[in-house]
């Protein structure tokens, strides 16, 4: 099928609403109804610009929505047609913010390849095995601190702490900065959320968060220059790309990316996972019956179920085709991960939380390609360690009441969630 290119300004908008704040304030189930219709009838569709509220971009005319699993994988792998260097989130943003938080995630080859390699050695299976004990100890410490309580806010006392300690251990962030950095990192994806914002003006608050991260990073960079340690910050300070040291601005940007990608993803998967295990006691018992044999597959299903990142953007680098539609150079192309993870062409009964699901080719870590989640194995290990600890020590762990979900189009966030259990003796 060959489509005729329609200039961006004249292209009619799809009637389905993926752009309003109302759409992104609803539930995942509400959104899935819209995605299901698009997957079935209009898998690559053109939409009005997302309701922004951060930064008015007069040149933003809309975006293509990619909702099928196969198309999402294709966009991810065609990194020469669909580039990241012009931004990886829906919204147009001031360049200063893009520079501060997106690090190599918003780079294209060849620089992306070289820069990413600097960090990849810290995330390999061998390295993960080396720090496996530490990850398990962090999970144990979190459960130690809540085990006697009987009731907790899951997000504040479990989900936020698990990735915070692990990524901070790896990067080399001392305890005194951890909570600040993990809190400020949330604004990158959470500036639409009223609970988080507490009435602050979004752009100003985001700039403030950026400033705080820069201060912490700059202090630690100076410390590592003076006294190298065995951590990622030291590796970045000492690294060379094409014979040149990274600039402080670049290191600050990688620091921001590691904090955002390291904290706010596993945080959401932990909360959604604990909720799902609580909502599906038969699944939980099935898993408890053989933790060693079933945990790896269970983590995959939990990560599919959670889909912690709901969207990523690419920008068309040239005129090309996708799913029979003509894409014009400069068009924004948005991939909808929750939709792809519910695609019935790939998943049987995707609405079922099935810890035995196999195969499980979810796209929660990406659809493959050069930007595939660097921390995927770290995330898997953390989740397995935490769920094992909770299921073993707090077997009647139960989420009570309705969780408070966050508003936004990037992270599938949970702000607060209460759980009860019999306190450990």
């Amino acid at each position: 099928m060959t489509a005729t290119a329609v200039p961006r300004a004249e292209r009619p908008y799809d009637p389905a609403d993926l752009s309003s704040l109302a759409f992104w304030s609803g539930t995942a189930a509400d959104r899935e109804r819209v995605f299901a219709e698009l997957r079935r009838e209009r898998p690559v569709s053109w939409h009005r610009p997302v309701e922004n509220g951060l930064f008015e971009d007069p040149n933003d005319q809309g975006f293509w929505a990619v909702v099928r699993h196969a198309d999402l994988v294709e966009v991810t792998r065609r990194h020469e047609d669909f580039v990241s260097g012009q931004g990886i989130v829906f919204e147009s943003m001031p360049q200063e913010l893009l520079d501060a938080g997106q690090g190599f995630i918003a780079m294209d080859p060849p620089r992306h390849t070289k820069v990413r390699r600097l960090l990849s050695s810290a995330f390999t299976p061998r390295q993960m095995a080396r720090i496996g004990d530490r990850i398990e100890a962090n999970a144990r410490r979190i459960v130690d601190d809540i085990a006697g309580k009987g009731e907790v806010d899951v997000v504040a006392e479990i989900s936020a702490l698990l990735p915070m300690h692990n990524i901070c251990d790896m990067v080399g962030i001392p305890d005194r900065h951890r909570r600040t950095v993990a809190h400020e990192a949330q604004f990158a994806g959470g500036w639409r959320d009223d609970d988080l914002m507490q009435g602050a003006e979004p752009l100003g608050r985001l700039m403030q968060a950026t400033h705080t991260m820069r201060e912490v990073a700059t202090e630690l960079i100076a410390e590592r220059r003076a006294e190298p340690q065995d951590d990622l910050l030291t590796a970045l300070v000492q690294a060379e790309v094409d014979g040149e040291r990274l600039t402080d601005d670049e290191i600050v940007s990688f620091f921001g990316l590691l904090m955002i990608a390291g904290n706010d993803t596993t945080r959401q998967s932990t909360s959604h996972g604990l909720q799902a295990l609580s909502d599906h006691p038969e699944q939980r018992e099935w898993l408890r019956a053989d933790l060693d044999g079933r945990m790896a597959g269970a983590v995959e299903e939990i990560v599919r179920w959670a889909t912690p990142i709901m969207t990523f953007r690419r920008t068309a680098a040239r005129d090309c085709e996708l799913g029979g539609r003509s894409i014009t150079e400069g068009d924004k192309v948005i991939m909808f991960y929750a939709s792809a993870n519910w695609d019935t062409d790939v998943f049987t009964a995707p609405e079922r939380f099935d810890l035995s699901r196999s195969p499980n080719p979810h796209v929660s870590f990406g659809g493959g390609g050069i930007h595939h989640c660097l921390g995927n194995q770290l995330a898997r290990r953390q989740l397995a360690a935490l769920f094992r600890e909770v299921l073993t020590r707090l077997p009647d762990f139960e989420v009570v009441g309705e969780p408070v979900y966050s508003t936004g189009n990037f992270f599938h966030g949970v702000n607060a969630m209460t759980a009860r259990f019999t306190p450990e003796a």
Binding site: R117, S120, S121, T124, P125, R126, G366, G368, I370
Partner: protein
């Protein structure tokens, strides 16, 4: 059977290493090394799995 690695495509994620750590290893410099470029025939199934696990298509099997 021979494993062919395209270093230009490799993003050093180590998905292959997770499948077969005695054949693939991402070194401390971030570069993937083939510890056994020609693994024995009885491991073909596992090698196919490792090649398929590569998100960037940097690995192929020859022979």
């Amino acid at each position: 059977m021979r494993i062919v690695l395209d270093q230009g495509k490799c993003s050093s994620l180590g998905m292959c290493e997770a499948v077969a750590p005695d054949v693939f290893e991402v070194g401390d410099d971030g570069a993937l090394q083939l510890l056994q470029p020609e693994p024995p025939e009885d491991r073909r199934g596992q090698m196919e799995e490792a090649v398929a696990a590569c998100p960037t298509g940097a690995l192929t099997l020859e022979g």
